[in-house]
Symmetry: C2
């Protein structure tokens, strides 16, 4: 029985548990706290930035993978030096950790993305603004997620605080019709399998709703998305699930917004809506096992995130009113604004599905 | 977060884990050994026949349910006396534990079943044989499962060894077209939901293959099966999943063969093939939460059991050749003839699905 170790005890590690149970994989989790979301599979408590804790955890595992991208390169390098199989590897994870490195590498690969620049000063930012209609998105290269570390700027001094710590990434503000996500899994021996293109709705920088597949996506948009994800997966030698967040620009371009090298919020719809969920596929990929069929189980799937918390009575109430909706609770204590769970429903009639998913999610308001 | 305690650490307890993870239910298992199939959720090691072990385990749980039917009535009674919620309750479980009590109660409820008799002696067995064409099925009232405790008899002395221990159940040998299984879940407040009727193929008394739904079942057979399961569920006050194993007799009768009050081998196809799996439904039912939609996710589903063991290379090989087949491994050590896992595939073309399921299962031969 293969042993997969996951660094980080969040909901992504939690949602690997069902896939591991099905495939007879032993899942071990290095969690920050004993009461983490993935506590059922937690075998060690420790900080993913602590080399000793990570090495000791990794020792008994056949492969190490991740709940998040925040394990520092020197910790990753120490694992590799100790002979631990790490998927995705440090050389790939770098591009999920450092947005400047990612933009540089994607430019080399010829992947379409917003205009961007490495900006060291307010002067350079002023130039970028002047070249892009006076507006830019500025991002810290590291540490950003769910809208953090991202800022809309129209003033050359709008990122002075961040610039004090080093260069930032300035990006063209893309006018987009909508946001899309192309998920793909790749395994070390090279096999890669995409899911259909998903449509995501972000609220305050956080994924709020996913529609699978993306409504009315043209064949050319779908092909572009798969081509981008395939190029990135192979070009960056990603192993495991890769989520490519995309803009469908008003001018028709399909551009890479962000990358994540792990199961991704936009892919939660695959748990109930795909022959192979992103969590099962991730485990298969990091073990270098053959990948599974990614055909949808129904014409449409809708996923809506739930924030704050899911009280038992709320879960029972949602289940009672919407018997076809699948409720996923992350086992977290209640905290306003925190991703606490999601609901998914699949079927034939998209309008009806959106109604039912929203109706179910409303029980948690 | 509700806490469900499961007595017994077999594959049924194991397969409750994914459903518990999704619904934010804390699952605790009282397992016989530390290396049981359900070890991930095991919080106590002990014997389900040991009152102290069971009471101590039950103390911290909101409700107790079961991986098997072998917890003695005095242990169940002790839990009830201690104020523990037990689902299914002792009064229901009795009929899953004692086949004579089951036949008596189903007769009272008017449920169609094979002719049967409580037989105390070879003389009484001789009479039953004489009345039924010289052939009977003889069963020990207790302790039988997967073909054990069941014997085909055509000689009045064919059950002398069992009769030395007390009365046995003699049943008409039903000539049947095929075996069927009607699964239904019922919760304490009375709501009950059936799944579609399944067709089962037994080999040596053990479930080998399930086709969902049963091929070409007439509306009258389907209605009869649901009516029987509903009558039994309410009549016996079953809580949780009830599996009614049925004969479709050559003379057109639909007759009850056996009952199980827990998720059942014939229902494993619901994990990948139903909007709500039998494991999720069981947890919802025993918590008295509203029950889920039991609509199939595809026109057909095929489940095939795997015996012996599932080596890692075999799993990888099966996944590689059959990317749409879902493999479920029970995390058991290899032992010839032991139920070690199952494979499921769903889709539109039954012949193709049977081919694919068999092809996948063949990797484990």
């Amino acid at each position: 029985m293969p042993i997969v170790g996951v660094i980080g005890g969040g909901q992504l590690a939690r949602m690997m548990i069902p896939a591991a149970v099905a495939l007879g994989i032993e899942l071990r989790v290095l969690a920050e706290t004993p009461d983490s979301s993935a506590r059922l599979a937690t075998t060690a408590i420790g900080d993913g930035r602590d080399i000793d804790a990570v090495l000791s955890f990794a020792q008994g595992c056949d492969v190490i993978t991740f709940d998040h991208e925040h394990v520092p390169q020197q910790v990753l390098a120490a694992m590799v030096a100790a002979g631990v199989a790490v998927n995705p590897g440090p050389h790939a994870l770098l591009y999920a950790q450092d947005k400047l490195a990612m933009r540089e590498r994607l430019s080399e690969l010829g992947v379409p993305q917003p205009d961007w620049a490495r900006v060291h000063s307010a002067t350079e930012l002023a130039q970028f603004l002047a070249d892009h209609g006076g507006r830019a998105v500025v991002k810290t290269p590291r540490g950003g997620y769910d809208g953090k570390g991202v800022r809309m700027v129209d003033d050359a001094h709008g990122a002075d605080d961040w610039l004090a710590d080093g260069p930032v990434l300035a990006e063209e503000r893309v006018l987009f019709e909508r946001e899309l996500a192309q998920l793909i899994a790749r395994r070390p021996s090279g096999e890669a399998r995409p899911w259909p293109l998903f449509e995501t709705v972000q609220r305050d920088g956080v994924c709020a709703q996913v529609i699978a597949p993306a409504r009315g996506a043209t064949q050319s948009v779908q092909s572009a998305a798969v081509a981008i994800a395939t190029t990135v997966a192979h070009g960056l030698e990603v192993t495991g699930v890769l989520a490519v967040e995309l803009f469908e620009a008003t001018d028709g371009r399909v551009l890479v917004n962000e990358l994540a090298m792990r199961p991704h919020n936009s892919g939660h719809v695959t748990i109930d809506g795909s022959a192979t969920s992103q969590f099962e596929q991730h485990l298969r990929a990091v073990l270098d096992w053959p990948l599974g069929d990614t055909t949808p189980l129904a014409p449409w799937g809708v996923m809506i995130n739930v924030f704050g918390g899911l009280a038992d009575e709320q879960i029972a109430s949602a289940l009672g009113h919407q018997p076809s909706v699948k409720v996923h609770a992350y086992g977290k204590s209640t905290r306003p604004g925190r991703k606490a769970g999601h609901v998914t429903v699949i079927g034939d009639d998209l309008d009806d599905l959106v109604y039912r998913a929203r109706a179910a999610a409303a029980h948690f308001d």
